[in-house]
Symmetry: C2
Subunit: 201 residues, 2 copies
Amino acid sequence: MSQTRAEQKEQTRRTIIEAAFRLLSAEQSFANLSLREVAREAGIAPTSFYRHFKDMDELGLTLVDEAGLTLRQLMRQARKRIAKGGGSVVRTSVDTFMEFIATNANEFRLLLRERSGTSKAFRLAVQRELQHFIEELSDYIEHKTHANHQNAYFEADALVTLVFNAGAEALDISQSKRELLAEKVIQQLRFVAKGSAALRH
Amino acid sequence: MSQTRAEQKEQTRRTIIEAAFRLLSAEQSFANLSLREVAREAGIAPTSFYRHFKDMDELGLTLVDEAGLTLRQLMRQARKRIAKGGGSVVRTSVDTFMEFIATNANEFRLLLRERSGTSKAFRLAVQRELQHFIEELSDYIEHKTHANHQNAYFEADALVTLVFNAGAEALDISQSKRELLAEKVIQQLRFVAKGSAALRH
DNA sequence: CCAATTAGCGCACACATGTACGCTAAATCT
DNA sequence: AGATTTAGCGTACATGTGTGCGCTAATTGG
């Protein structure tokens, strides 16, 4: 045999996940995506869906995890690029993030929307992903500048908020305007970094 | 007669609008609110809805306008309080905004959610409301500090972003934790203001 | 090799939705 | 006073939904 049963099942699971991502767009959010639509796109019977996920919520949380993972992997790459010393930390990070928005718009949309969606579990899941970046950045700042913990944390939180928000704006504008947007957010990040340093003690 | 036909119609329209707001909550967004639900809550027949709104989208845009108006009125009051010289500009503004979140949670949720929703018209409508605050604040900064236009604008944009985002966080936490949140955002606003001033020329 | 498990399917059902259509009664207009 | 307009209603229909149930065919385990 070429595949075990478990492998086959896993493959169908992936098909479902990918079908769901494919159906997300500017006009369609996960919230108004039906089980039957996903099954149709995945090429399986509606009832077969249940062999893989308890309900749409379980699928949704999986998607959030996947999107978070993709984003984290990308930012890890960015850190490598930074370590190799190619350009400003801020600019490289922002550029990488903007690249994520451009290439994985629907993954980002999922995070963006479910952050304020109607399911508390979803909101928490997205919050956890963001928290990851905030804490990582906070540690970095604390170590690099010897700021006290709260100062570093507030700074990191502000930075992540501003970048994430800029990502949301990026979704609705043309590629050419995104460069202006990048300039804006970079400048804003500098405000925060500079201000935080100035108010440090 | 006690009411003209036009007055009666306007009154029913208000009933619909208020019914819709009443149905919004942490668990229900405008997007997954049906015409029939709204009609039921308003105490009219589903088909009567059409006498007042072309479709749910038209109602939704009306709600966004209303929510924006409420917020603007509140912030105008805040400015009066500030002009009378009672405490810091930043703190008074943040406190007022947080008060808005607490008293009009569902209005705010509407703005928050539709800002990243599936209807471009909705996203633009919310963006317009935010733009209003950014420009007002930008003018204020430009006048007060003689900053150049872009610097003032970027600063104002960052300030509004941070406050709005803190509002979103406030929705999911207890009243007691909101005070800590207020401290955080106030500190972050100071970072931006200080940093912007330092990078000014 | 036989028994047990299970991924996937088709069928069926009860339910909610948006909205077309035509009516009524009251307000408004001429 | 008579004609016109219109807010609101009830009925009806086509469509999409989640999910329970029982079957089949194939993989797995003893």
